[in-house]
């Protein structure tokens, strides 16, 4: 078998193992939360009989290990259980929410990743001159300001004063793609400002590291322009560290957008999770945790695999 396939298969198996471990942690974590679910559903005035009945109904009297495996087994078949608070099927409620979150994350990534890499290249080209310093200053400033503040500031200026985009990012299934994009323009802008600095600085550092190599001198002595030297000869050798940071930030775009979703009242997973945490709806919290873990592990696995594929020595063995 081709050695790359072996490596990729290994990563894949490791990813699955990690997901399994994460599911155990999530389950154990929600188990050791203080308090009793049945109690919190029925309130302080519930009779002991009613509590006992509800516990039996929810399966809370079963041994934890058995509950874990039946939960895991059902989750693997797409059955995430029902929400305690409203009795709805969690998978159903989650799917539209997850779709919305992924939609927002996807478009934020489409804007921010190429922009970050381009700015990184530009910073390398004008290293230690004013464009480099300006890019660093602006991106660092934007990452340092809390995202809800950027959100409200943008909302005030761009939508209230200028009236360009709506301030509330409400989307529903009857809207066209353009209408949706228009609705999420501001959240995209906020998320881009948040993730830009990290990716841009990693691109800059990774490429500067490669710029010391002898083959960069060879390229310069071929009479190539500085920008061609950077993107043609330096960038392909700096892919691995860049992809790793890009994937970490994409994961953040999926699992870390709670604040932005709340600020813009966007019907995504973050809001759903926050709602149900406050209501102590354990099955929903577990389901969200599992999905977030899967997204995180999946994106990092992709980063690992891209890093492997970016290495010509592994792709083309002797």
């Amino acid at each position: 078998m081709h050695p790359v396939l072996t490596l990729v298969a290994q990563r894949f198996a490791l990813g699955l193992l990690l997901l399994f471990a994460a599911s155990a942690l999530i389950f154990a974590g929600t188990m050791i939360l203080p308090g009793d679910v049945a109690q919190s559903i029925l309130g302080q005035s519930a009779t002991p009989e009613a509590l006992e009945n509800l516990r039996r109904e929810l399966g809370l009297n079963e041994p934890p290990l058995q509950r874990y495996f039946s939960w895991l087994f059902n989750a693997m078949q797409g059955d995430l259980g029902t929400a305690l608070t409203n009795g709805r099927d969690i998978a159903d409620s989650l799917s539209t929410r997850l779709g919305n979150t992924l939609f927002l994350a996807f478009w934020a990534a489409v804007v921010s990743v190429p922009l970050a890499i381009f700015l990184g290249l530009l910073a390398v080209r004008y290293k230690d001159r004013w464009p480099d310093k300006l890019i660093s200053a602006v991106t660092l400033a934007s990452i340092s300001i809390p995202e809800f503040l950027i959100g409200y500031v943008l909302m005030y200026f761009v939508s209230v004063r200028l009236g360009w985009f709506p301030s509330v990012a409400m989307v529903n299934s009857s809207m066209s793609l353009f209408e949706r994009l228009n609705a999420i323009a501001l959240p995209i802008a906020v998320l881009t400002l948040v993730v830009l600095a990290h990716m841009m600085r990693m691109t800059r550092a990774a490429i500067l590291n490669v710029m010391q190599s002898a083959y960069i001198e060879t390229a310069e002595l071929k009479g190539l322009s500085s920008f061609k030297v950077i993107y043609r000869h330096a960038l392909p050798n700096a892919i691995a560290p860049i992809v790793n940071v890009v994937m970490l930030n994409m994961a953040y775009l999926v699992v870390g957008v709670v604040v932005v979703e709340v600020v813009f009242v966007y019907p995504g997973m973050g809001q759903y999770l926050v709602d149900h945490v406050s209501k102590r709806d354990v099955p929903v919290v577990q389901a969200c945790g599992l999905i977030f873990a899967a997204v995180y592990i999946c994106l990092n696995m992709i980063a690992d695999i891209v890093s492997i594929l970016a290495n010509p020595r592994l792709r083309h063995p002797k």
Binding site: S213, A214, Y215, E217, T218, A219, E220, L221, K222, G223, L224, S225, K228, H233, P236, N237, A310, P312, R313, H316, K318
Partner: protein, 545 residues
Amino acid sequence: MSDPMLKVRDLKIGATIYPPGEKPRDIEIVHGVSFDLERGKVLGLIGESGAGKSTIGLASMAYGRGGVELTGGEVWVNGRDILKSRPGDIRALRGAEVTYVSQSAAASFNPAKKIMEQVIEAAVEQKKFSRRDAEERARVLFAKLGLPDPENIGDRYPHQVSGGQLQRCMTALALCPQPDLVVFDEPTTALDVTTQIDVLMAIKEAIKDTGVAALYITHDLAVVAQVSDDIMVLRMGEMVEYGPVDQIINAPQEDYTKALVSVRSIDHEEKAPTSEPVLKVEGISARYAGLAHDVLSNVSVELHPGQTLAVVGESGSGKSTLARVITGLLPQRSGQITFAGRALSPDLAGRSREDLRELQMIYQMADTAMNPRQTVGTIIGRPLEFYFGMKGAEKQKRIIELLDEIELGEKFIDRYPAELSGGQKQRVCIARALAAKPKLIICDEVTSALDPLVADGILKLLLNLQKVEDVAYLFITHDLATVRAISDTIAVMYQGNVQRYGSKTDVLSPPFDDYTDLLLSSVPHMRLGWLEEVVVNRKMQSGGN
């Protein structure tokens, strides 16, 4: 008569240096060098490291490496002074009129791109040829340079071809845009002697066929004598002597040139084996994890106290692997190592502290073998503490003794490695090995990274120390001149086997086996026309490269 292709007048080159603990200051590294180079001629630039030869070579492309700046003088290429050209014009010159072949092709090829793409890039980018014509040209050059499978080798990645082949690809890269001048910067220094001949011959023919002018930079006078028409000897940024190759080799005027031309000054009488060997290697076989074949097969050698065993061979012959097995870094699959009368555990973890102390090692790169943040005193003092528990004044006294032994002296005790020259660093490494009072020191290519005159000094020091301390050396090298200078016994290795083994006189006297003959005949001689003779008379090709 028309102007020469390259005309350099009073070239001055400066750099800013940052000495530790001092303010940065500007120094001049080339002090007014002048020469002419006609079309189709080859000028050899020769000197030790720091002589400024690479810097001058790159100046012909108006390029300053690192913080180097071209501060004065004129460099005329094809009738215009490129030091006064605009950046855009300089870019148009690089890769089109003047091209460059570097010392390490392995580092100079982009690992992420196919060879063909890199070879034709300058020609296409500078619009000298269409992509198709450039590829055709590259294939012709691959064939001319003797590369295997010239039709398809361009589709491979740099790591998929050997070092010697890649060096030839680099030459194709330089010749592809049909330049007027090629700068060859030590193009064969990183290669085995046997491979060097092939590459040298390929370069020489390619220069002749294409009629380009060339600057050939090297520290090896014997090599430059084979390819040049004229030679300029440089020392510390100044011209020492400049003349036709015949005059420089056969009738050098200056003392420095005479020192370069004269052969090694060491004469070492071989010693007869004594009673009991200090190291006995019997039937060792070893392989690296994941490899299906042995890197060493059935290797047996002996080394007597106070003597030197030279292990010689090309890269990939298994000589460094043998050192790894003896030091316990790579446990052998079979065979037995006896050291100082006791069997050595194959595994490093199974060896006693006494085993470790009595077997020390010196490496090729003294730079990377020392902690840059420790002073010389700390570096040498560590084994004294570790093996003998020395402290305070006692340790200090011993460190100074050792510094005296390596001819550096007490004033070096507080210096950091970065403040030492290459030769001085290697001396500190020797002192660190000696501090453990070893019975055996493994020297892995310890002089390969040094200039010839400095290397000479290190070898003399090692021989003197051997007399005083009665220590045995296992001396790994690819350089036969070094072997001749220092060894008592020699093992010639080829593809993991000991090809020839015996006393120095026996190994170096005919009749030879084919491989030893190839190895011995490949060492460049300081004689015009040697290259052509040896290529005609060779019995076999070099292995694997």
